[in-house]
């Protein structure tokens, strides 16, 4: 297994159009575009279904069917229907990313305890306030988990962009295979694997920053007496 291509400084030049920095940027670009569109589609739907409880069965079944769709096949279908370019690649990656985001958004919102939602309603919050200020913050760890899962799959699969004539890290894999330069294939695969792990770590960090300490248990070591009234004011229950 030769690492020559990976370790060759010339391939890491910032200005080279087919160097690693440029290819990584392209790869991240396809990934971010697809994830953003998928989140814009799947998050509101998941939120609505989770909040109202309506249409859950359809969403779950569509999500499962989407999971079974091979992305390569979707890409080929889109290439045949739309033609070559960024659009078919993005559609294929969006189709890949929607099921995990939709399913976890729905599951996260559903996991919020009923009494919490009832309490929010009881203090006079509107339905959209309940959704945005109560359900979403509590469901956030699960929702971000789905986003991590989706980005992992999209980063892995964005290699197909190269198969459709675009750039990204897939270039090294397919060009290397076509010209039988295995060290180029190895380099592409190693950079891709490291990129996937790094993105997952970054999102894990983002999860810690975004999720309220009161939700994920980090706030649990605070002494309860300093934060809350020690006794309920009245117990009518």
């Amino acid at each position: 297994m030769s690492l020559d291509y990976l370790l060759d400084a010339a391939n890491w030049s910032l200005t080279s159009p087919d160097g690693f920095p440029q290819r990584i940027l392209e790869h991240l670009g396809y990934t971010a575009l697809a994830l953003a569109i998928a989140a814009l589609v799947a998050f509101p739907i998941g939120l609505l279904i989770g909040h109202t409880g309506r249409g859950a069965l359809i969403a779950i079944n569509l999500g499962n069917a989407g999971r079974a769709l091979p992305t390569l096949g979707v890409l080929m279908l889109m290439l045949a229907l739309v033609g070559i370019g960024l659009v078919p690649v993005t559609i294929a990656l969006v189709v890949l990313a929607i099921p995990p985001i939709l399913a976890t958004t729905y599951a996260g919102i559903r996991s919020v305890p009923d009494e919490t939602v009832d309490a929010a309603r009881g203090v006079g919050m509107t339905e959209s306030q309940i959704a945005w200020r109560v359900e979403v913050p509590i469901a956030l760890p699960i929702i971000i988990g789905g986003l991590r899962n989706a980005s992992l799959q999209v980063v892995s699969t964005a290699t197909i962009a190269a198969y459709a004539g675009l750039g990204g890290l897939g270039r090294y894999l397919f060009d290397g295979l076509a010209t039988l330069q295995y060290d180029q294939v190895v380099a592409g695969a190693v950079v891709l694997a490291v990129l996937a792990v790094v993105i997952d770590l970054v999102l894990a960090g983002a999860q810690r920053l975004l999720v309220s300490p009161g939700v994920d248990g980090r706030g649990a070591d605070n002494s309860p007496t300093t934060n809350r009234p020690a006794e309920p004011i009245s117990s009518t229950a």
Partner: protein, 218 residues
């Protein structure tokens, strides 16, 4: 529509070969991983240090993109890039990473009072494991098996990109023919159908071996 039938008439046997190969490449890894996951999951369930190491390793393995793994394995194993063994090993690793976790979760979820009752009735550890603990853990384990199976069926298609068979070949065939729709559509329909059939079969098995889930309860 008629184009699709025409394609099936003239290329029926190659479509069938691709389908059979797809079934092997997708399901053999799940079967291997399932057999390995039972003892490994039991170890993970029982020993805390093992749990930490195994679950961390599993999540790292799961992070590695399938195409990257497919291309790196030949270098590690000394196999040819076109060897289907790479696909079987790569998918076994992914399935194993998932199934060890769900097996451990399933065993964790078994009520300890049930195990105490079995022990009190004179069950020896091994018999207790096979006849009480494992069957009760099965619903969770089989849920993991369903996810792994559906994921594998759609992942095998990727292997066609590096020239290994399965339904993915129909996609690359359509590509080579200048984005010719029939093989692409046939490949999509067959791989979704395969995933659905495999899923339904596992659910049927699950209903068969967990009769208590239907009896009474609610």
């Amino acid at each position: 529509m008629s184009e699709i039938w025409n394609y099936l008439e003239t290329n029926g046997s190659s479509v069938l070969t691709a389908l059979v190969q797809h079934i092997w490449l997708a399901l053999l890894p799940v079967a291997i991983a399932f057999v390995l996951a039972l003892p490994l999951g039991a170890l993970v369930h029982r020993y805390l240090p093992v749990r930490h190491v195994a679950l961390t390793t599993g999540s790292v393995v799961y992070t590695v993109p399938s195409l990257a793994l497919l291309l790196l394995l030949p270098g590690v194993l000394g196999t040819s890039v076109l060897d289907p063994t790479n696909v079987v090993i790569a998918l076994t690793l992914y399935s194993l990473a998932l199934l060890v976790r769900t097996t451990a979760d399933g065993l964790d979820a078994v009520d300890t009072t049930v195990l105490q009752a079995a022990t009190a009735m004179g069950y020896r550890p091994l018999r207790r494991w096979f006849t009480v603990q494992l069957p009760l853990a099965m619903p969770v384990v089989l849920t993991g098996l369903r996810v792994a199976t559906v994921a594998n069926v759609s992942m095998v298609s990727v292997a066609a990109l590096i020239g290994i068979g399965g339904l993915g070949q129909l996609f690359t065939r359509g590509f080579q023919l200048g984005f010719y729709l029939p093989p692409i559509v046939i490949g999509l329909v067959l791989s979704v159908a395969l995933a659905v059939v495999a899923d339904v079969l596992i659910v049927a098995v699950q209903r068969g071996i967990t009769p208590w889930a239907r009896a009474g309860g609610r």
